[in-house]
Symmetry: D3
Subunit: 225 residues, 6 copies
């Protein structure tokens, strides 16, 4: 089985939580050693955001802010790679061709961002496409896609299954700027739409959810094409 | 003055038209030697499309199709660079940091595509953002943005000025796949939206239009923020 | 067994022929999966020639023409790599050390040109030398080396076996310029001469010929040392 | 005049202080635009330390901890580069040859760490050596070298001038591990010893100190050979 | 078992001794094919020294001298790699991440120097650390560490075991400049100290010594922590 | 004026002659600072030959021998670059595009070999072609092209002017293998033939000859087209 898992920035807290990293790495390492091809994409989180905010205050344009954010996602990827130990490829790819080149070697490939203008969600979608992934799991700090913002409204309900076109319509309401690429990133959704990759949004709080989603269990939100 | 010009794939015909290339290169070279910083982005055109179609027939995923298309846009960029002679930087940048690094040297920088998932329109928008361009001119085979498809409908009228949000809404109707990124590429528009770069869509048939657009003359379609 | 196959530009027609590409890729993929180490070198063909001609018209020197031709041979290599699917290394090497590094991994390595001043025939000879190939098969649109030009003269006879020195003498009559490196490229022949690589020139119209030549069958023209 | 300034990790606080960064960048930018060649080396600071500590907890060896620390020093260098605006080279060099290549172009070169096993103090010393710097200023959060730890002991006195051999003897008492390379880094001191670069340790709290040290004024601690 | 062997410059004589190279390569190749992970670091020797001396005479600073010395150590590494034949990775890594990336592939990795300011002894120590080596063998032209210079004094006695701190104290007496990094290189010792890698200094005259040291036999000088 | 000078391996003796290097560098530096664009190509010489012979004895194929020879020509180039001081670009290009990119910056570009299968004579011819050189001076340890071997026969007469076709005919008699690419290298001559670069063969014993040849004076052997 070939899979891509996007681990949202929420995993990489201001005070880096090595216990959580180790737990997730352990579960994913087990999955990989069962003969599955696995690519992990690390998001940015609070530290990335801190650098992006500082860069913006110092007068950087958004592309340059993206570049500095990418540096931090790669530091996050490095932590993940360390936590995976010898299960992971020791090199962090920096372009899509390398992802494709390294993914065939039987080890977990871990990466962060690639290029300005692409969120790590888009990177995960592209990585899923080029490695012909059977499944893409996008793990964030919420259970999936909700009817409303679950952190603000108690009435918010988890949506079990949603069409990619609907997600795209919602996505277009937002604004694209470094450090706030939303779960509903239009470019990522466009890639999903064209490649029709089976995708689930789940919570990363419990690594068990990610593993279940990888095995096609009903958990979080499923994207329908 | 700092400018980015996107030269659409229409300039790079199946039978490569060196007369047209020389004419456009001459006009842009004059503009650059008047003390203006200029970045040119070459599109794909029919040859790129032929390779992408063949790749797709052979079973390539869309990211890989993008990669092969990028190779052809770089061959197009090379032709443009040759036509510009010693006015142009002899190196074709392959990532955004290089664009920014080379653009400050007083010579024209010419590039093609950068990464899968990004049309050359998006590349032009990112290049404009990171080089802090005063203007982005997007030259295609039509006069600008129309109310209808000008090649199909005689009633189609050129729109003189359009809000970026409107363009984005229209863009979302299309599908993103290699070789058919439209004039209305959502990612490119998102970048324009965040960077508020003064942008005009003009025809590349007459190089004079491009030069006029660079000088802020009323020509083609202007994007409003 | 270790082999290098040069696939002449004739395989990469103006209108890219995916049926022919798939057929050749299938035969070569079978050969490779029987435990043989295989390196493929893609030539230029009509599309490469079109770009080279345009570059020359725009005033490029021959080294720059070579560089643009190399870009197109790499696009051809990419098509071949796609047609081979998972049998092929996903990375296209761009220097000889990489060829040697990748060739030992059990997958087919596909490449195009490497450097100005070297035809893809010379690249194939160098690749054969550095990978210690047991055989080099050079497949073009004719059956092998003839007494006269087989496309012009009906009296032309196929030569079954020819000494490398004779080929070199013939080769020196021609001129070396981008896009017209002949079957009888002096540098390629010099490399064959020094490395004494068992070599056959065969037709690429029937993939069966290539496979027979790989297995040492009597087909096309054999080079004698 | 050719100078190298090492800006200690103290400049890059947990909560990135863009006011301080802007102030230092302004002073150094003025210095550079007076016709001086300037190379800046950014240290790690608290954010680098946080990533290094996390990496170590996850089981990374010290070389890998160094690698992740280097990523963060480069993010710091990027902030500095942004604060300098067009006065700085837009590329952050990643090896010593690049430093030497970029330093001759009339713009400020900014870098972070280069290789595991080398503190950014050693990088600054090497950069000073290879760019034939007239002066190296090492700016930290204390006024210079003291008789005792100035943060712990009120009796600590600033030493105005000290022989490099004495510094080396003191340095050998410490331990070398990622994130705690002290002001008295043995490798850095060895490089100073061999290249006899005029060096001063000053405080980075007041940018005026750095500028005075660059102009050879009596401030902080001077290294004697 | 995971091992790093540093082969001192003495192996790479002015008149390159291919018999000695072949003998050592044979012994190390046998060790590797018994399922051991092996990284070899080639030193400089007389040819490196000749280039460094010439560079210094021509006015080069010590960092540039280091750079030219590194080029020669890489030529030495190439010879070693050739002598190892197909047992060795065909690529010579040029940074520490590559060492770590290549070391896991079941073939011997051979390298020379990496960066100015680091002797090949330091490189060997860093390589041992990042590949989590069980043992580091440092082979030179003497039997190990002596009480006095064994080439000058007949009273010199081999020390069987010595604490790393003692070595460090001795090392600090010397001077660090290109081509004379001693057996007792402070940076290398600092790395050993922090990583506590089981290390032996042995003679490279008899390859048998190196193999015995790899297997933990009592030979040469052992470093104690 | 744009010029390329090939400095033959004879300049890089077994015992590196820094006096000769400094003398030639001084003369060429003067030439360059008079507003001329200059590219220098360093040959191999005895040290390169020693490494190539050792590699061949250890079983390397000729392409690998070329690779090791190229490493040594780059060390030679580095010495030359150091002798030129700040007149030279600090980066040694490793492919032809870089040569072309660096040559336009007003400093002397120094390089060694580029790729297996190409002698440094061919590199010089390609560099002359891609930088549109007005003149190529090929300096060796003899005065030019002779009727017989001037080192063996006292009757040997210097030929003042010779047609490229005649040189090519002579060249084809020789054999191409690493370290013995002769003055009459067929590939180099083919490049000269196609690019019609005004070329002179002169002695490098007296730098004055090289400077005279650069200024078009009658010295050594002139190649006629």
């Amino acid at each position: 089985m070939r899979a891509v898992v996007k681990l949202g920035g929420a995993l990489f807290k201001r005070d880096l939580d090595t216990v959580a990293l180790r737990k997730i790495a352990g579960a994913l390492s087990d999955f990989a050693t069962q003969g599955n091809q696995l690519v992990l994409v690390a998001g940015g989180g609070q530290n990335a955001r801190a650098y992006i905010v500082a860069a913006r205050k110092l007068g950087a344009d958004e592309s340059t802010c993206d570049l500095i954010g990418i540096k931090l996602t790669r530091a996050n990827a490095e932590l993940l790679r360390i936590a995976l130990g010898s299960t992971a490829v020791s090199k962090i790819p920096t372009n899509l061709s390398e992802v494709s080149h390294l993914a065939g070697n039987g080890k977990v490939v871990v990466l962060g961002g690639l290029q300005p203008g692409q969120s790590t969600n888009a990177v995960a979608a592209l990585a899923a496409e080029i490695t012909k992934a059977d499944v893409l799991v996008n793990a964030t700090d919420v259970e999936g896609v909700y009817t409303q913002d679950p952190k603000k409204s108690p009435k918010a309900k988890l949506i079990r299954s949603v069409h990619v076109d609907k997600l795209l319509n919602w996505a277009m309401a937002g604004e694209v700027f470094a450090g706030r690429y939303e779960l509903l990133d239009p470019l990522a959704l466009k890639i999903l739409q064209r490649a029709r990759i089976p995708t689930r949004f789940v919570s990363l709080v419990d690594p068990g959810n990610i593993i279940e989603a990888l095995h096609g269990k009903v958990v979080g939100t499923r994207v329908v094409y």
